[in-house]
Symmetry: C3
């Protein structure tokens, strides 16, 4: 699991916190506000609609047949028409920002993110987080907070859960350090850990409609695919996206919130852009089943052109009919690197790498 800072993913306080005047604004939690076992119920519940699907299409060049077409979804056994998994993830994640990472210095990692069932229009998501680990840093000024967050729908069923850990400022440097506790998180979920939603049956999969003939059997572990296309980022677009997920971190919206006057692009915007670009490649990777780990290696800003590539890390069959799982590394870069170098000889990420995401997708066998 990467310990690189996940800059740009709901991390809100690179600049100093301002004083509020009457204590009626949210000051966020500081390191000493977290205790292992504490459960935080996050505001605000949010209903997903067809409007979210349309905006996602406008913001990202996605063409995966399943979220694009209700007919296609029905043809693979899904009664209702799911939205892209990342819509649910960004919304569920956004809710945790005001309580977990408003005073974060850095987002350090994700682990064990599972998509338990597809999110469909009409679903209302709520998120709660349990503190599962704490470790004060040796400088005495900050500490690492580990949380497991769970998004549930209006029936109380789990839709998505995930762990993340963030570095958070202390309010009072003299406050005593808590007993350190670092949870045991999996470097990657095994294929047997995946929650395959009820429904998907890829036995009558229409690869013509999906636009891609390569299936599970056509991919080999170690194979790399350059997704070729690039998108040049703009500020209005990432702000529209980030607001849509009700993510409030100021650095994404306010040019006065950072010394360089640039808006920092929400890391999830880069994830969604790279995932959409990956259609020009494994276009049959219709559903995201899990995120094993993710590092926002470098910050992204407007006017940079993002490219993406994938590497097949693992593959496994599942119990669902005709459904295989591929574990992919999705890498986003600033500018295209046809050599597809991830790290230099020194083991550090190559210049230009923005995102290194390790995830499981479902694909027809």
């Amino acid at each position: 699991m990467s310990t690189r800072a996940l800059r740009g993913a709901g991390c809100g306080t690179i600049w100093p916190m301002s004083k509020t005047t009457t204590g009626k604004t949210n000051a966020g939690n500081s390191f000493e506000d977290f205790t292992v076992g504490r459960v935080i119920e996050h505001a605000t519940p949010r209903t997903i609609t067809e409007g979210d699907r349309a905006l996602y299409r406008a913001l990202y060049p996605t063409r995966f047949a399943l979220p694009s077409s209700a007919e296609f979804a029905h043809s693979v056994g899904l009664e209702q028409h799911p939205v892209e998994e990342l819509i649910g993830f960004h919304i569920a994640f956004g809710k945790t920002v005001p309580d977990v990472s408003l005073n974060a210095v850095a987002n350090l990692g994700y682990a064990e993110c599972r998509f338990h069932q597809p999110v469909v229009p009409g679903d209302t998501l709520r998120t709660k987080s349990e503190v599962i680990g704490l470790k004060q840093n040796s400088n005495g000024k900050t500490g690492v907070v580990y949380v497991r967050s769970t998004a549930t729908n209006q029936r109380g069923e789990v839709a998505i859960d995930w762990c993340r850990w963030v570095m958070v400022n202390k309010r009072d440097e003299d406050a005593p350090a808590p007993e350190p506790f670092v949870p045991d998180l999996k470097p990657a979920l095994a294929a047997t850990d995946l929650k395959i939603p009820a429904g998907p049956d890829f036995t009558a999969y229409d690869e013509v409609a999906a636009g891609e003939k390569h299936r599970f059997g056509d991919y080999e572990v170690g194979e790399k695919i350059d997704h070729v296309d690039g998108v040049t980022l703009t500020d209005p677009e990432h702000m529209l996206a980030t607001r849509l997920w009700q993510n409030t971190a100021k650095v994404h919206f306010n040019t006065q919130a950072r010394p360089d006057g640039n808006r920092l692009i929400y890391g999830g915007h880069v994830i969604s852009m790279a995932r959409a670009l990956s259609f020009n490649g494994p276009a049959n990777a219709q559903l995201i089943a899990a995120i094993n780990a993710g590092a926002h290696v470098a910050p992204a800003y407007a006017d940079r052109t993002i490219y993406a590539r994938s590497e097949v890390l693992d593959k496994a069959e599942t119990d669902a009919p005709g459904v295989g799982a591929l574990r992919l590394r999705l890498v986003a870069t600033r500018g295209r690197d046809e050599s597809m170098t991830l790290r230099g000889e020194d083991g550090k990420y190559a210049d230009g790498v923005l995102l290194d995401l390790d995830y499981w997708v479902l694909i027809p066998i």
Copy 2:
């Protein structure tokens, strides 16, 4: 009631009107086209959808639980899921622009705006305006037109009504002045004037979901709240918003329509941005019941960073179960002013003040 010009709120002719070639384009009404008692039915009826809610979320950092979550709306007694009140207001207002303010020099004020019932997806709004006052200016070139506008839904029920007055050019300076008539408008609606929609019952209000523990009893008249967060404006975003409301005033879209080459931002964009920013404060102010008055004190342009603050002006209980009303002053500024100065010693608005809005909201007791 402010008599400051409401620049930027559907005011369309800072530049000279062009000649149309065959009389088949809308030239708007000039001062002499208005007579007291004249009723204008505005085009175009407009159906509200979930797409409007999604776009509103993308454009403004709103997180109020009631418009965010259908489940939350049901939990406070609303069968259907209302959209933000300002969606209805901007749409209803936009319809009046081609007939009322296309030739306006300035929007001078609002009064007596009441939200009679929540607007929900599927509702179709129409707007008509009655001329309720006229007063030619002493220069003989312009006059003030007062209208009461009423938006009705597909059942013919009133959804929103409001008064506004605008300064409109005369087509012919030699045309005789009409008998002056200035209507008697209330400086502010009393709490007893509010139309509390059927439904809201805040007795089982879920403040955890809403994200805020402060209720009616926690606010004192005179209290000021700095909403802390800022948003830097962009041109594409305000154009998306203004088109969504079918507001056609050219100064918002056309850099050739103004001598400085800047697009003037629709005043309603600033209202919605400030209202959304106010979530970091009275987040339980779930419904807007009325707008008493509003002044767009200075024009807004792209690249400026907007901040907001609120002042409690009045408070009152209502007949609805658990529902209180707060009268708030919502102030938007260009740049953050932690001193929260509204006016200087000379009585003029302080530099940087963009919006001074006086409105009633509903909040749990």
Copy 3:
């Protein structure tokens, strides 16, 4: 029919194609991949929703009453509420890009585009194309491909069909030329060729709601209307639109894809903008029935201000009650030209002309 290049309309390879690494990305078709009679089923089916309608409203200043109001649509005999015809067209067209024009040097023309029935939210569109003509160019490097594309809905009914022809690169200059075959396409559809959808009955047409009193009988062949209003283009807006239609041509999104570093604006964005601006004119032209021909005369870029004008080319009654048809020329220009000059004395398009579109609309008699 114009043989001017339709630059900007789904034309993807002004820059050199990059090599893909494992053959799992779409390289598009080259000239020698097309044979007369070949049918290509395009990915990806796409369900239309109310979110598309909302985004279209946000992107274009459209105020036509029929797509704006479900009530208005019902009042003219339509059970369901159609979206703008161009939403269907752009989506259907976008699907052809990866297979037909990814390697196109230029889009040369459209013909015989008919809207067979209104597209409504919930419809899922698929597109297939049949190659109906081929002609290698004398340089041996490129050839012209003629296709007839057909978009069908989830019931297998034709929604839209059209022809277009594009100039496509050869992969291998030494490949033999196919037998040339140029299909016989109509310069314009006759009124009797139009597919008037079941439903529209304009006998009780509400011109107050529509915002326009001029009807079929008020327009004369040869009449020109300047639509007066202008919109200054931005990059984020055209990208949002073009992605929404799942159009993947790189030149619209990637500043590295063109030597000048400008994003080329999708030609369909200009069509939709001009059509929306034409509301300030024939606002009763509620439905588009056909596109006879179209030329994207010059490329469009951000920061240019678009104006539009119309010329009445023909008119005819139809069998539908109260429904007449106008054949209009819709011209978009960069900057406003009140002289409404289309071509200079040399027969070439006047400087500033961006679009020359010949289409049929339905209007109340």
